[in-house]
């Protein structure tokens, strides 16, 4: 399979170090006005590309302020207790600088992991059904369902979470003998995030399952494997790398989701929370809390949490991509 795709790539003109301009799609000498236009257009290209730099620069410069300044005489925030502490604000507001986001990091990762545990099997199996089993019109219907789920704004997921899931979880917890804070907490957050991740996982998995080389499947069938065995042991395994990419995207979305989470998490001020029915809080839900302060450390600390959030997302992405590269290539 690999050699096939390689051949395809080679079909095009071979690129030499000096023939780069010849391979450009449309080659023509640029007139003077063209050069001016090109410069103007490149400016727009640079502007578009510069925003990620802006984001990183401004959030970092703002976010490190609480650690390096003395916050108008309140004293600076200790970085190590910030990333390891278990209470959001240890002391009264406006005068204390004992902020900690350590438990938030654990909560955020824990919730994202649990929601993936729920959404991954559902998403992948749905993708398998759409790609390999369902008749054409059923597959098209399911694709529309997935597209619609993907286009529902997160605030609507939050609303349904509050209106529908919280009461249900509350009475479920009560029937088990737990008292939950109106149903808000880890379980509610996990369910809402799982629902939001399913379309991401399904749509990406479906594409990669469909692009599995059919000859692999035919070989498996010819060797006497049942269609179901073939689907699971050949199609799914061969599409592993794509499915993994879907999961990585989904977990990235779960880690960064804010409004829906803030509505159902319960906004705990300390942690970490591992109990399914206990109220919890994440990096994002904490950033949305108490937006009224507009100056000083209570405001800047949000940028610090923002830095932590980006580092968590980048690290998770990096580690999962490493994992993907290690186990990803089997039938390729």
């Amino acid at each position: 399979m690999k050699s096939l795709t390689r051949n395809k790539e080679i079909k095009g003109p071979k690129l030499g170090p000096f023939s780069a301009s010849k391979t450009k799609r449309v080659q023509s000498p640029l007139s003077k006005s063209d050069s001016v236009v090109k410069v103007i257009l490149s400016l727009f290209g640079f502007i578009s590309a510069s925003f990620i730099v802006f984001i990183l620069f401004f959030i970092t410069t703002r976010g490190i302020l609480p650690f390096i300044t003395n916050n108008n005489g309140l004293g600076s925030v200790n970085f190590f207790s910030f990333i390891s502490g278990t209470v959001w604000l240890n002391g009264p507001t406006f005068v204390s600088t004992a902020y900690s986001a350590g438990f938030l990091i654990i909560n955020t990762l824990y919730i994202a992991f649990l929601s993936l545990l729920l959404s991954f099997p559902i998403g992948v199996l749905t993708a398998l059904f759409i790609a390999k089993i369902a008749p054409k019109h059923v597959a098209n219907f399911l694709r529309t369902v997935i597209e619609l789920l993907a286009s529902i704004p997160s605030i609507v997921y939050g609303l349904v979470g509050v209106g529908l899931f919280l009461p249900a979880i509350y009475s479920f917890a009560r029937s088990l003998g737990y008292s939950s804070g109106g149903g808000s907490g880890t379980l509610a957050t996990v369910i809402v995030l799982a629902l939001m991740s399913i379309p991401t996982i399904t749509s990406i998995s479906e594409v990669s399952i469909r692009s599995v080389d059919e000859s692999l499947e035919h070989a498996s069938l010819a060797l006497g494997a049942t269609p179901t065995q073939t689907r699971f042991k050949i199609s799914l395994l061969a599409a592993k790398s794509g499915i993994f990419s879907g999961a990585i995207l989904a977990i990235g979305r779960s880690l960064g989701e804010a409004t829906a989470v803030s509505l159902v998490a319960g906004n705990a001020k300390s942690g970490p929370t591992f109990g399914l029915f206990d109220i919890t809080s994440t990096l994002t839900s904490t950033m949305l809390e108490g937006l009224k302060e507009t100056t000083g450390i209570d405001y800047d600390i949000r940028f610090s949490v923002g830095i932590i959030l980006m580092v968590v997302i980048l690290l998770t992405n990096f580690l999962l991509n490493q994992l993907k590269n290690r186990i990803g290539h089997q039938y390729e």
Partner: protein
């Protein structure tokens, strides 16, 4: 062999079950939003103000005629035929006991009152308005806490002459948030479309395949993975101060919100436009160049018009994103619901309106669901439009 069969069956059941779960999830979300939100959907919802307004008014011509009143089944409704008005004991959204107007005759003295604010405008009591107090000349006032029956009894008392009426319009409309959302859509697209489309043209038509181009592309792609709450931080640290410097705005404002949304949309617009630029056949480019057009003319007069479906798709995708975006806007615009929308002041979009009400105590789920229903309908329509564009485009490609 049988063992394999049972195993296969079990596995297949799980596959089917997963698909059913996704369908049920969608059905539950739409079903919940529809059942909770449909009751409040009305023309009033989109034209009325959100905040209740209080008025103090005096009656202009206190007539002593008798009005013919319809009969009411509800036991909580009390009728005054002297003033042509029916009041009902009711509850407001917060669950407090209030007296509302259940019916008002079109010739009732309450329809021609004079507002006691400096404008002295003529004002009318309308159905559903909350009457909080009626004061009389030389008699004690009738108040909310004494109930609708008492208020009607006082009104029907021929000895009493009305001095002032205090009442409040109901509010609960979303006109302000709709206007804000429309402003945001217009402003954002005005900023993001030109930058996005021109960037896409640069990357696809003009840029050489150098390392630098690759890095720039990667930078743009990275924006896709940035969570929207981080864009909110960008908005308050860059765009809000920027707009405060160059406009009279004194704090968060819609322009800063639109700029933030513009950055959020950029990667989508660039990618979608580029994809459609790529589908334009090279033959057309060569033909145009061979006819003596220069690269600029070729790009803007031959290539770009053919990429129009892609730009349209990007526009509609963008509108969907703007309508659904909440986290970034909460940061940049705040969550204070406004009835009078000004571009240089903060206000809420529809999605933020929901968030604002859901974080209130108590949460207003009914009105939130109505707004969510509106958002879902718009998103549905946008999806259909995008599909139509795609299918029309495909057809055109086949010819």
């Amino acid at each position: 062999m049988n063992k394999i069969k049972t195993k296969d069956t079990i596995v297949n059941v799980f596959v089917g079950l997963s698909s059913i779960i996704t369908i049920v999830a969608l059905a539950i979300i739409f079903g919940y939003v529809f059942t909770q939100g449909k009751d409040l959907i009305s023309f009033d919802l989109i034209t009325k103000d959100y905040h209740a307004r209080n008025y103090v008014a005096v009656i202009e011509n206190d007539t002593n005629q008798t009005f013919e009143m319809p009969s009411f089944d509800d036991e909580q409704v009390y009728v005054s035929s002297r003033y042509g008005i029916a009041l009902i004991q009711s509850q407001d959204l917060a669950g407090d006991s209030v007296i509302k107007v259940a019916y008002i005759d079109e010739n009732s003295p309450f329809t021609t009152m004079i507002n006691q604010d400096p404008s002295k405008a003529q004002i009318s009591l309308e159905e559903d308005a909350v009457v909080s107090r009626i004061t009389y000349v030389n008699h004690p006032s009738s108040l909310t806490n004494k109930g609708a029956q008492m208020m009607i009894n006082d009104l029907n008392d021929p000895e009493r002459e009305i001095f002032e009426v205090m009442f409040a319009t109901t509010g609960g409309g979303i006109r302000g948030s709709i206007i804000t959302t429309l402003y945001l859509i217009l402003l954002t697209l005005a900023v993001a479309l030109p930058i996005g489309v021109l960037s896409a043209i640069y990357f696809n038509e003009f840029a050489k395949k150098t390392k630098l181009t690759k890095v720039l592309r990667n930078f743009v792609e990275t924006l896709t993975g940035v969570p929207s709450i981080i864009y909110g931080l960008l908005g308050i640290s860059v765009f809000v101060p920027l707009t405060m410097r160059f406009t009279p705005a004194s704090g968060s404002n819609l322009i800063a919100g639109a700029l933030t949304l513009g950055v959020i949309l950029l990667p989508t617009i660039i990618r979608t436009t580029e994809e459609s630029l790529k589908t334009v056949s090279d033959d057309h480019r060569f033909a145009s160049l061979a006819l003596g057009a220069n690269k600029t003319q070729t790009t803007f007069k031959v290539v770009l018009p053919q990429a129009l479906p892609g730009i349209l798709t990007a526009t509609f995708l963008g509108i969907g994103r703007i309508i659904g975006e909440s986290a970034a806007l909460i940061f940049v615009l705040g969550a204070a619901i406004k009835d009078q929308v000004r571009i240089l002041e903060p206000s809420t979009s529809l999605a933020v309106h929901i968030w604002s009400m859901m974080t209130d105590e108590p949460a207003n789920i009914a009105l939130s669901s109505s707004i969510a229903l509106i958002i879902l309908l718009i998103v549905l329509v946008l999806n259909i439009i995008i599909k139509l564009i795609a299918s029309m485009w495909l057809k055109k490609g086949q010819v």
